[in-house]
C-alpha cells in the first residue's frame, strides 16, 4: 500500500462526498477523490460513474484506484461500498475512519 498517498487522500478528504459518481454536480465520491489525489485530472473523471477514461491507464475505477494506491482490490471495493451505503451526512467521516484503519493496519504490519 502507498501509505503516503492514502494519507494524502484522507487529509484532504472533502467534507461532503457523493454516492456513485467519480465527479459531478457538487463533488466527488471517495474513488473520484482518491483518483484526483493520485494525479488523475478532472476530464478523466467527469460525469463518469464507474470508469476512468484515460488512454492506457484507464478502466474500472476500483481497479485503477487499487493500482494507483497499491491496495488490494477487495479493500477498494469495500471502501466504495461503504461510501455508497452511508447516509450523506455521515459519509465523509465514515470514509475517513476507514482510511485511518487502513493506515493503522499498515503501520501495525511494519
Amino acid at each position: 500500500m502507498n501509505a503516503d498517498l492514502v494519507a494524502r487522500a484522507r487529509d484532504g478528504l472533502p467534507r461532503r462526498l457523493n454516492a456513485g459518481i467519480l465527479m459531478g454536480d457538487g463533488g466527488f465520491c471517495v474513488l473520484g477523490w482518491m483518483l484526483l489525489t493520485a494525479g488523475f485530472h478532472p476530464i478523466t473523471l467527469y460525469a463518469n460513474t464507474v470508469g476512468v477514461a484515460d488512454p492506457g491507464v484507464g478502466g474500472p475505477a476500483v481497479d485503477v484506484v487499487a493500482r494507483a494506491y497499491d491496495l488490494p482490490r477487495d479493500a477498494v471495493v469495500e471502501l466504495a461500498r461503504l461510501n455508497d451505503a452511508t447516509p450523506r451526512e455521515q459519509r465523509s467521516a465514515a470514509v475517513r475512519a476507514r482510511l485511518d484503519a487502513l493506515l493503522a493496519a499498515e503501520r501495525a504490519d511494519g
Partner: protein, 553 residues
C-alpha cells in the same frame, strides 16, 4: 447603384422570374438558383441559416422553390440545427451562412459535427474573387478556417460547376465516416447568371453499404460462439447506416446483450430485454468477448482500453478506427454497420447467454432501484432525477429529448429511455454546451406532431436562448426544461437565481418557475400542451445525491 423596386432590393439581385423551374430553352439562372436546384436533387427540404448580402441569391431561390428556410438568430444555431437535422433524420442537414462572421459564428457547429461524425453541408458566401487582399468587407481566408473543422472544404470558381460541387459535397458528407462539409461561393459568382443549357447536372449516386470480408465474418462468429460472456456495444455508425433492423435481428438471433451509444441510442429500444441502455461500463468491463460496431474507441468509450478481454471484435466503415489508440483487436472488419450485422447474423449460431444476461439484468435492476428512489424524492430543491421521472411519465415513445451537455446528459441517460433512433440526440464529443436548442429546432421541423424537449442547465441556456424566438416564429412546440442548479457546476461558479421563465412572455410562450416537486407535473403538462415554445425553469439541488452504479466486479 442598381435601380431598386418596392421590395428595397436592387433589381440585379431579384430572384429570376423563372424561380428554380427546370431549364427551358434560352432560360438563364443565377448561382443561387443553380445551388437550390442542386440541393433539391439531393432531397433537401429545409435550410437553416441567417440571411446576408453574400448569400441572397440562394436565399431567394430557396424561397421561390418552396424550401423551408428556418432563419435563426445566430449562425451557431444554424450549424447546430443542420447537425440536428442529421441526428433526427439520418440525412445531411444544410445550413446557409453569410461571409465573414457568418462563417466564424458557425465554426463551433461545424467542429461539433466533425467531432461527432455527423453529416451536414455548410453553404457560405464569401468576398469577391477580385477583392481578395484588397480590404473588401467581410473578407478573410474562410476556406483555410473551414478546412480545420470539416471533412472537405471547397470554393467554387465557375458557375456551371455549382451542381457538380453540391453533389460532391453530399457524397463526401455521407460517405465513410460521415461528417460536415463546406462549400463557399464568392458573391460575384453567386449573383452572376448563365444559360441553363450550359449547365450539366451530375448523376445521382444511390446509397452504398460496403460489405464485409467473409473470412473475417466467419472468424468473428467463431470467437462469439466460444465466448462465455459475449457482449456488444454499438455507436453512431449504426444510425448513419440505417441499420436498426439489422441490429435488432442480430441481437435477437444470437441473444447477445447490447449497449447503444451516441447516435445509436434508440436504434434498439432501451426496454428491449437484451438492451442495457447506454451503460457500456457495466457490460463491457464484465464481458470476455466484446463486439464493437460503429463506435469509436474514444474518451466516451474508455479509449477502448479493456485489457481484461479475451477478444475485441471491431466493425467500422473507416479503417483508421480499427484498433485506434493501439488497442489490440482480434478481428477488425472494415464494412458498413448494416451490411456487417446482416452477414454476422447469417454466420453466427444462437449463443448460450441466458445466465450471463440474467446476471447483467440483476446488476442493472439494482442500479435502477437506486435511481427510482431518487426519482421519487420529495426533497427541495428538487432532485434532477425527479424532473426526469416526471418528464418520462408524460412523454410518448416517439418524443425527442435533446439533453444539452455534461450533467444534463448524465441525468437524461439515467432517467429517460430511448425508444426510437434519433429520439435522444444527446451528443457533443467536442464538449459543446447550449447547442441543444439547434438540435431541438431541427427535430421539431423534421418530426412535426411529436414532442420535442430541450433539457438544459441554467448555464448552457444562456448560450442560444434567443432561439426561442425562432421556435416562436416557426410555431415549433419545443419544451425547454431548465435544470437550474444556480451555476456552472463543472467549474463551481455561481450564477444565482435567475427567472429564465420570465423570458417566455416576450415570445408569446408559456413560462413557469418550479420550486417544489408537486409543481412539476402540472407545469410540464402545460408546457407540453403548448402550441409554441415553452420554458419550465426548475430549481434543482446543486449537490444532488447520485445513484450507486460503479462497477465493483
Amino acid at each position: 447603384m442598381a435601380e431598386g423596386d418596392a421590395s428595397g432590393r436592387p433589381s440585379w439581385a431579384q430572384p429570376a422570374a423563372s424561380g428554380v423551374e427546370p431549364a427551358a430553352s434560352g432560360a438563364r439562372s443565377n448561382g443561387g438558383e443553380l445551388m437550390v436546384r442542386a440541393l433539391q436533387r439531393e432531397g433537401v427540404t429545409h435550410l437553416f441559416g441567417l440571411g446576408g448580402g453574400h448569400i441572397n441569391p440562394t436565399w431567394w431561390a430557396a424561397q421561390a422553390a418552396g424550401l423551408t428556410i428556418v432563419d435563426v438568430r445566430h449562425e451557431a444555431a444554424a450549424a447546430h440545427a443542420a447537425e440536428g437535422w442529421a441526428l433526427a433524420t439520418g440525412e445531411p442537414g444544410v445550413c446557409v451562412v453569410t461571409a465573414g462572421p457568418g462563417l466564424t459564428n458557425a465554426v463551433t457547429g461545424l467542429a461539433n459535427a466533425r467531432s461527432n461524425g455527423s453529416p451536414m453541408v455548410c453553404l457560405a458566401g464569401s468576398a469577391t474573387l477580385r477583392g481578395q487582399d484588397a480590404g473588401e468587407v467581410e473578407m478573410f481566408d474562410q476556406l483555410e478556417v473551414a478546412r480545420t473543422v470539416t471533412k472537405w472544404a471547397r470554393r467554387i470558381y465557375h458557375l456551371d460547376r455549382i451542381p457538380e460541387y453540391v453533389a460532391a459535397a453530399f457524397r463526401e458528407a455521407r460517405s465513410g465516416r460521415p461528417g460536415p462539409v463546406y462549400l463557399e461561393v464568392p458573391i460575384d459568382l453567386i449573383h452572376s447568371d448563365i444559360a441553363d443549357n450550359d449547365v450539366a447536372f451530375p448523376s445521382l449516386l444511390a446509397p452504398q453499404r460496403p460489405g464485409a470480408d467473409a473470412t473475417l465474418i466467419r472468424r468473428a462468429a467463431e470467437l462469439l460462439a466460444a465466448a462465455a460472456r459475449p457482449a456488444m456495444v454499438v455507436g453512431s455508425g449504426v444510425w448513419w447506416s440505417g441499420a436498426g433492423a439489422e441490429l435488432r435481428a442480430f441481437v435477437e438471433h444470437t441473444g447477445i446483450p447490447v449497449v447503444t451509444r451516441q447516435s445509436a441510442r434508440g436504434t434498439i429500444p432501451d426496454d428491449h430485454p437484451l438492451c442495457f441502455g447506454n451503460d457500456w461500463q457495466s457490460v463491457a468491463y464484465r464481458a470476455d468477448v466484446l463486439l464493437v460496431v460503429g463506435k469509436q474507441l474514444d474518451y466516451f468509450f474508455g479509449y477502448g482500453f479493456f485489457p481484461h478481454l479475451d477478444h475485441l471484435i471491431q466493425v467500422d466503415v473507416n479503417p483508421l478506427e480499427i484498433g485506434r489508440n493501439r488497442v489490440p483487436v482480434s478481428v477488425g472488419i472494415v464494412a458498413d454497420a448494416g451490411s456487417a450485422l446482416a452477414e454476422l447474423t447469417d454466420a453466427t449460431k444462437p449463443l448460450a447467454t441466458d445466465e450471463w444476461v440474467a446476471s447483467l439484468r440483476r446488476s442493472a435492476d439494482e442500479v435502477a432501484s437506486a435511481k427510482r428512489a431518487l426519482a421519487r424524492s420529495e426533497q427541495v430543491p428538487i432532485h434532477p432525477l425527479r424532473v426526469c421521472a416526471e418528464l418520462a411519465a408524460l412523454l410518448r415513445r416517439d418524443a425527442t429529448v435533446v439533453a444539452d451537455a455534461s450533467n444534463m446528459l448524465m441525468w437524461a441517460n439515467a432517467g429517460l429511455k430511448a425508444y426510437e433512433g434519433g429520439c435522444l440526440p444527446a451528443m457533443s464529443n467536442l464538449g459543446c454546451i447550449g447547442h441543444g436548442v439547434g438540435f431541438a429546432l431541427a427535430a421539431a421541423c423534421a418530426r412535426p406532431d411529436t414532442q420535442v424537449v430541450w433539457l438544459v442547465g441554467d448555464g448552457s441556456f444562456g448560450f442560444n436562448a434567443m432561439e426561442l424566438d425562432t421556435a416562436a416564429r416557426f410555431h415549433l412546440p419545443i419544451t425547454t426544461v431548465i435544470l437550474n442548479n444556480l451555476g456552472w457546476s463543472g467549474a463551481w461558479v455561481p450564477l444565482g437565481v435567475r427567472h429564465y421563465e420570465r423570458l417566455a412572455p416576450g415570445f408569446d410562450a408559456v413560462g413557469t418557475l418550479v420550486e417544489r416537486p408537486e409543481e412539476l407535473r402540472p407545469a410540464l403538462e402545460q408546457a407540453l400542451a403548448a402550441e409554441g415554445p415553452s420554458i419550465v425553469n426548475v430549481l434543482v439541488d446543486p449537490e444532488p445525491e447520485y445513484f450507486p452504479g460503479r462497477f465493483l466486479g
